[in-house]
Amino acid sequence: MEVIKTDVAIVGAGGAGLRAAIAVAEADPSIEIALISKVYPMRSHTCAAEGGAAGVIESDDSLEYHFNDTVQGGDWLTDQDAVELFVNTIPKELTQMEHWGCPWSRKENGDVAVRPFGGMKIMRTWFAADKTGFHMLHTLFQTSLQFPSIKRYDEFFSTDLMVDNGRCTGVTAIEMRSGQMRLFQAKAVILCTGGAGRIYPFTTNGAIKTGDGWGMAYRAGVPLKDMEFVQYHPTGLPGSGILLTEGCRGEGGILVNKDGYRYLQDYGMGPPDPWPRLKAMELGPRDRLSQAFWHEQKKGNTIPTQWGDVVHLDMRHLGEAKIDERLPLVRDLASSYVGTDPVTSLVPVRPVVHYMMGGIHTDIDAATPLPGLYAAGECACVSINGANRLGSNSLGELLVFGARAGRHAVEYVRSAPEPNAAALEKQGAEAQKRITDLFTRTDGTERVAVLRREMNDAMEEGCGIYRDANTTKMSCDKTTELRQRFKRINLEDKSNVYNTDLFQCLELGNMLDCAETIAQSAFQRQESRGSHQRLDFEARDDSKYLKHSMAAYNGDDPPKIDYLDVVITKSQPAERVYGGEQK
């Protein structure tokens, strides 16, 4: 197998991966970087983020406010040292993006403009119309092109982390165009592989979001943290699951049920007026809004459509000029996909799986417990999001912790010894054999599409917005069963060049491993907190569960779930209050 020697291998070239790569290149141009991704960088799912990135900039705002909003939004499951570091650093990172050319929307006087976002006490969300993630991704990608030490391996599908003598020393990846496996020998590896919304049937996430980094880290013995916390975004287009940004509500859009009633006032978000009002009604946090939809649906207040039940997002009062300036993509998407123009019509929306709060356990330096392995972005859980991420904190997170992962990897690399080539070769051969076996086996009976659909359905049904012991148990059993059946998966395409059957198969394997950790973590957390709502344990239980769930790989058996204390520095757990007359 061809061995590619490098200093830092970065897997994933979305926002976090590119930011990490640039951080390494800026810190020390002599350090070689291999930036490995299964897609070209500009295809990464960062591009789909719409609304913006929160960072304190206004004179009436403070770092403490952003800290409090984030900790409260996460239902006190956030690590407060990480949140503090995050809110302190993000304004600088967003300014750096500005210097690199990010086309932030502006105020009349030429300053960067901000917009309101859910769960945020002050307007602090920087935005580039409704294509913020797209512009950030392209700005990072294009900026990265000027650094010769960043060597890209586009369309390389990573399969396994190499672990020798208790440290991570590389990664194997298949060159998709030739089908040949390469061994990247690296002193440090940074995982920036994003989330795994594709575990669910109805998601805003693109096809590539399949938890590949999670799967690799998990199988290498790194725990996956807080996996039960799955964010449903309240405003997805029915049918396709396409995201309509929280910016729609930030700009003043409202949610109404079948009677035209702003139902959020019945769920602790009111009163409805005056409007708009921060941290109230439609500008509440995503978990609460999605849960309110669930209740409205139970009450029969939603609107049945060919795509299932919906509520209506009403933006008509914003007017055409504002919608075109601030929300052009939303208009395009709604008009194309559901045939409703937000300027003149109500847009049908429903909650849709959007983001994974959980992920690879890291400390505030983005380091995992496995020396030499770092993680940042959605694939990591550092954790600043706790039980529910606030909208516009994830784009900031990928910058802050992407850069941090890069810089700490540089420090690590400077003193790390050369990896043991012989040990690597042996592990590389094992990784290769797992792929070869897929090609040569003759006893395959299971189909990728079938297992994927069964996984999707089991997760939606068992680990949705509301769960209980029975439903989560069903998801546990089903994912365990599917992992067994996956061993008999049948590869129907046996060719080498750009074999998407193979890649979908490997993605399915990763998703099944991760789905089982979600189901098990959800089953074992007997409380309701943030996005994890148990019908059989309706209250938050700080005495038992003010802790992170840590899912550890256990071979063919379900993961072992341990618990790790949450870091609390200055904000003691309290009741999450939204709405009211507060500003």
Binding site: R177, S178, G179, Q180, S495, N496, V497
Partner: protein
């Protein structure tokens, strides 16, 4: 090893027939050929005018012959095509920002037609026709 990318070549001689937008492009290009010939004939006329009445009469006879008239009608049609297709793309090449907004493209197109009409009128007056 197993890669073998397949290159499809574009035909150098017939590519412009393969799509409507290429056909209109080639029509536009072709129209400039007629405009050029017309210009050549006109310049020739001027030269002939300078070389004496007989030369001039000969040229005049040529352009007023049936073939000459057919050519001029053709050239006029192509000149219209040329003008219309050029004016249509003016807003793309000419972006004028006033304050935050751009001057509407249609306004620029209309301004071009206005100037064309104005110049034509002046020419016709000078020629004593209008």
């Amino acid at each position: 090893m197993s890669r073998n990318p397949y290159v499809r070549k574009m035909s150098k001689t017939t590519w412009f027939l393969t799509h409507g937008r290429y056909r209109s492009y080639i029509l536009h290009e072709l129209s400039s050929f007629f405009v050029a010939i017309y210009t050549g004939i006109l310049i020739m006329g001027l030269l002939r005018l300078g070389s004496g009445p007989e030369e001039w009469a000969g040229w005049l006879e040529g352009v007023t012959s049936p073939a000459g008239i057919v050519f001029h009608l053709l050239a006029f049609a192509f000149a219209i095509i040329h003008t219309v297709s050029w004016f249509k793309v003016v807003p793309q090449a000419m972006r004028i920002q006033r304050g935050e907004d751009f001057v509407p493209g249609q306004l620029l197109v209309r301004a071009h037609y206005g100037v064309l009409a104005g110049v034509s009128v002046v020419v016709l007056i000078l020629a004593g026709i209008a």
